[in-house]
């Protein structure tokens, strides 16, 4: 996946208020979208599905798919696609490989030297280890690099910029440090990596290095590979630095499919390439550079685990960075396997996981791929035994996710119209490991997903994966998360930012999406290195593939229930409750900024910063900020009041009325699954029209950190008050449209004839 897996603390999913493990027989549990009778059939089907799942299949496929490096453009990447297509076909799926043609630069020249005050040449090479069978496949491995960096040849003094996010530059500024004309060195972490060169360039830097500090995934976390799972001295994290918060996918075909003959931008003018050259390095290569810095000490929170004082610079360390890339166009191979629905063939349930990797990618992405393959195989066995899904299943193994969601985005853009007509939901997974359920997605699916997690058993604890997650939240959550875990019937799912293939479906096309995985117990430092191997994965991540099977059970249930439901299991009260929560957060954010701005304005006027500053150091007062005005939140308050009513009305109708008459069934489903599209705005978000969802988006300056109510929240954060007011209105309008659709659904579902 594009981003490191992190346990979504904000998320939490499970049914029943602080319920002990469910003991009632499965048949008696209600299923959203099913009657008691059809639910009983569904449960039987799911038991058959579970009985099909074989951990050994996952192991064999992972070994086979991870046997060689399989990045975009490599022989094994294409070979893997064909192998998977073959499997799907052998299971009876209507399978095709859809090809897009995307820009995919690879390194031609990489030079990094310390040229003053001493000399040092960075090795830029990961060292294979004897204990790892594939780490020595050096001739096929992509060198360590950041994909979609520009070419460049720069020499300048170095500045250490912590994570390289905007707040870090404010700290530097207070210390009198300007990065204009400098090369910055940032730690991995704290934001998506692509933010670092983007912000550095905005601040005037001419080059950017990103290194993995051992504090974050090296020896400070535990023993390093191969003794333990963490990053050894030579390990360097590859990864995309495409400006995905602007738009993902092929940088040369913004908003439309990169078919063979599509019109393409000149790559030198592509807006999502970095403005400056950027290179990822290991901590072995970083240490001599950082140790050569002088100047003030970095703020305490910035310092890592290298055995040196972390100085900020600039200089006297001076570095030379030279990068040249092969700017080639490569095919990406999306494997699409379809099982047609018997009753509503035009309603598509999409299930996806990418298959390309940076190197061997056993964990990222194959741990998710092999679960999906086993889901498809198990479903095919049910089919052989006579089951017919009402709706169409589509399994999608995406290529080119790592460089920037290339495969999934281009496919989504190519098929946009059909998808908006037919796609019911997009269900994604990616890397997977031992531990706790983590799920995020459209909150119209929150209640549905809570019923799924309720019915899957944690392989280690033999309780539901929801119960285990609830226990985690109760022990480790913030007070707010603990309270929810105690008091809320459904545990909360997180919101989706960016970082895997759900983005184009949810945020560009308005298709309800989920992203699901397990983790928290299989941590390591192998991410995007040559050490993400079958050996590493089976020692440290999920040795017996038990969580791979659990993922298959979870996503299998999602697919089967969506495919088989009498009425699509969307629900709007949880959504309403969640958006109200986001609204309260944004209001609170403005309030907190107002108070903090007042406090700071007062401290500035009183010259308290000057009073405190050590005269032997530079620490300037922070910049004065304009007072935070009161914003007009009324349009959103009104829209949310309507949303609450319409959501309740739909719930009432569904509770009180019996089965929906067949004649209205398809209309109702359509209203339900196309409701999410009402949350798109035609204009998209400010300065990034590709992102059209008014509720969820990746942060413009965080990358994968989600921003909920993004138009409003980012305007407030960036103190664009007029824009905040405008975005409140626009978001309110989207929610009003959505409420209208829900009201229509209530009408169609209810006893009165459809209008």
């Amino acid at each position: 996946m594009l981003k490191r897996y992190t346990l979504l603390l904000a998320a939490g999913l499970l049914a029943g208020p602080s319920a002990p493990a469910q003991t009632a027989p499965a048949e008696t549990k209600p299923l959203l979208g099913f009657t008691a009778a059809t639910a009983a059939t569904e449960y039987q089907l799911e038991a058959q599905f579970d009985a099909q799942l074989r951990a050994e299949n996952l192991r064999q496929w992972m070994k086979r798919l991870a046997a060689r490096p399989h990045h975009v453009g490599s022989p094994h990447d294409k070979d893997n696609a064909e192998f998977m297509a073959g499997l799907f076909r052998s299971w009876g799926y209507d399978t095709r490989i859809d090809v897009s043609y995307v820009l995919f630069p690879t390194p031609k020249l990489r030079v990094l030297e310390l040229v003053a005050p001493t000399k040092f040449t960075a090795s830029l090479t990961e060292k294979p280890v004897a204990e790892d069978a594939t780490s020595g496949q050096t001739s096929e491995q992509l060198p360590t690099y950041n994909c979609f960096s520009r070419d460049g040849d720069v020499t300048a003094e170095l500045v250490f910029v912590n994570y390289g996010v905007p707040r870090d530059y404010e700290e530097l500024e207070r210390r009198g440090i300007d990065v204009r004309g400098k090369i910055v060195i940032a730690k991995y972490g704290g934001s998506w990596r692509g933010i670092k060169p983007k912000v550095a360039a905005e601040k005037g830097a001419i080059g950017c290095l990103i290194y993995s500090d051992p504090k974050d995934d090296g020896y400070a976390r535990g023993d390093v590979y191969p003794k333990g799972p963490f990053k050894p001295e030579s390990g360097a994290q590859r990864g995309s630095v495409l400006d995905m918060p602007t738009y993902p996918g092929d940088p040369l075909t913004p908003g439309y499919g990169s078919t063979k003959n599509a019109k393409r931008l000149d790559y030198k003018k592509a807006p999502t390439l970095t403005q400056i050259p950027v290179l990822p390095i290991s901590y072995g290569d970083a240490q001599p550079l950082l140790a050569a810095l002088a100047g003030p000490m970095a703020p305490e929170a910035w310092r890592g685990a290298l055995p040196i004082p972390y100085h900020l610079g600039p200089g006297p360390a001076k570095v030379h960075l030279q990068l040249e890339f092969n700017w080639k166009t490569e095919p990406v191979y999306n494997v699409i396997a379809t099982l047609k629905g018997s009753q509503y063939p035009d309603q598509w349930i999409l299930r996806g996981n990418h298959h390309d990797a940076w190197v061997n990618g056993a964990n990222d992405p194959l741990s998710g791929v092999v679960a999906m393959l086993e889901e498809a195989r198990a479903a095919s066995e049910l089919y052989k035994a006579g089951w017919r899904p009402k709706r169409t299943l589509m399994f999608c193994a995406w290529d080119g996710e790592e460089p920037g969601l290339l495969g999934s985005t281009e496919w989504a853009e190519t098929n946009a119209k059909q998808l908006q007509e037919h796609a019911v939901a997009y269900l994604n997974s990616d890397s997977n490991a031992r531990g706790f359920l983590s799920a995020a997605g459209s909150h119209t699916l929150e209640k549905f997903f809570n019923q799924v997690g309720r019915d899957v058993t944690d392989p280690e604890k033999k309780m539901s994966i929801n119960d285990r997650r609830r226990a985690y939240d109760l022990l480790n959550g913030t007070p707010e998360v603990q309270k929810d875990a105690r008091d809320r019937a459904d545990l909360r799912i997180g919101a989706l930012g960016a970082g895997s293939d759900y983005s184009p479906y949810l945020q560009h096309l308005g298709i309800a999406a989920m992203n699901v995985g397990f983790g928290g117990e299989g941590e390591g430092g192998e991410y995007h290195t040559i050490f993400d191997s079958f050996d590493h994965s089976t020692r440290f991540k999920d040795p017996d593939f038990a969580y791979g099977v659990a993922l298959a059970q979870t996503m299998g249930r999602c697919v089967l229930r969506l495919a088989n439901a009498d009425v699509l299991p969307f629900e709007f009260q949880n959504f309403s409750n969640t958006v109200a929560k986001y609204h309260a957060e944004v209001k609170q954010l403005a309030e907190t900024m107002r108070t903090e701005t007042e406090r700071q304005t007062k401290l500035l006027a009183e010259k308290r910063y000057e009073a405190v500053a050590d005269p032997t150091l530079t620490l300037l007062p922070p910049k004065a900020q304009e007072a935070v005005p009161y914003l007009n939140f009324a349009p959103l308050d009104n829209a949310l009041a309507k949303l609450e009513k319409s959501a309740e009305a739909y719930a009432q109708v569904r509770k009180s009325s019996g089965a929906v008459p067949a004649a209205r069934q398809q209309d109702l489903d359509q209203l339900l699954y196309r409701a999410e599209q009402q949350l798109l705005s035609a204009e998209g978000l400010p300065r990034r029209p590709w992102y059209r969802h008014q509720i969820y988006a990746p942060g413009f300056y965080t990358g994968y950190g989600v921003k909920t109510l993004p138009g409003i929240r980012e305007a407030v954060e960036e103190r664009k008050w007029a824009e905040a007011d405008e975005q409140i209105r626009r978001t309110a309008a989207a929610i009003e449209r959505f409420s209208g659709q829900v009201s229509r659904a209530a009408a169609v579902a209810g006893p009165a004839p459809a209008q």
Copy 2:
């Protein structure tokens, strides 16, 4: 000093609610204890005092006193005492050197080896640096050791215990790790060092190592000596491990003076020696030992800055620790210089600072000593010009502070009766450096001290030291501290725990005390090493002795005002307000423990810990705790209500009535300065009767961290509910006695004749 200087965040001192720097002429400012007329005279005197102060004197004296190592028993220690006595005499003070005879063990044999799985012998030697003129005086330097460790010869597996405080052992226990029969290695920090071997022994460990992690005062903080001020690889912190929270001073003469022929305990039976051998080591010596540990990773917060994974053990690292000491009795030389009061010679103003060091001790303690010497010299100049203090001044340069407040405690115990009759207040300083005022002490002196800080100018910022401290609190304080800094007329002074020579005066004898210093800008890693030198101090701590002079101005004002006041400037409303705050804290503590215990009991009953635990690791649930009962705080509520009234009554009387008639003056003063003694209980604190103050004590398990309302607070923390109730009554009784005394003072001060 015994403890590292830390900026007391809890403290904060200054007059005027968020007032800009005072601009009114000094003469118009009110002075507690003075009339407008006598205040004007006092201000003139202080201006003359300031005019006398010469930074150059401080420099020359520090150079001379720090020229050689001057620990207890060394030739230079005695020589320094005689030099200072000579100075005092030359200034006209009646000067004597009072000698006590104290146990002072020094190392005979120190061996530390890693014996498995590999071999390594610790050097236990600090490496002199060429850039430091005295660091090479190896023949006179005490080796690195912990004074009052027992002899021992032990070999066992090693366990890493973080800071070695009780909470750390709870974490180990949850990980299934038992230290019985093991040797523990703890980091310096998190508690006073003597707590570490004490707790280790309670838990069954047979040996203890304490090392300085580079995260705390080595390269992670900044450049190491001599390039910067921080601890180099070979630096090891000497220091006492006497069980001072039980009682300080000579371990062989508990509660009475160690005169030449005093009856002494057998040292092997002395209760304040450690139960197990303990040795401090450098991070250079610690790294191979820590690197040889296996077992679970230490919790994240425990890990330091060495470039290794911090494992807990036990083993396979196995170490051999052998220690033998010379158990000698040594003389300690307290220099006592007296200037008799003209009007109330039986009222003594004590001003003290220790003079012994672990090695050359330029910062600790000489930075404080030289300020005190200059105060005494300046006062003598005023005397020569005709000034006569009403009350007696006593300057005290203590010996033997480092091993355990030996000089000051034995002198206090020897002269206990006289001191309780005559001592008005004890004013202490110790190490001093650039930065912010930090003051702690009896809150009956809080208002008085606020007026002192109001009138001293910060050398760097040319504002009052109070204004600068208030700015610090406004910028860096907790919300509560910020609120106080905005809204409270007086900034709060801290409470005194332990760590320097005020302990016997305040906590054993009930003499109001203050401890004052500057710091926060001159940090380093030299503490108790051979690098605490004149060179280090004049490069990094207070290069131009400006803060030495500021300390002399501050403490000089304290002495002069106490000596000259018409009525002693004690004030009780701030004290009342402060004790009420402590009371609220303790109530809140019980409340928080109750809620947290309920939460944990519930989580345990629901088996949530088991649900979350990674089955490949050991993480047992925490131990079940008895529910927290509701305590009877009523006696204290009632006592505090009375205290508030009596404090207000005294304030009213002092405000409304004019000068106190001469006949009642001495009675009033006596009631005032002996009020603090009413806060002692005859029984002392549970299990440590030497500590008799019911409001302030060092924590039994924190060492120098103060515990306010210690009897109650520690009973609650340790869940001794019956004892908590008993201590509430006992503390209430002490406060009632105190209120009674304040009421008597109000009566004597008032228009009515004294009773």
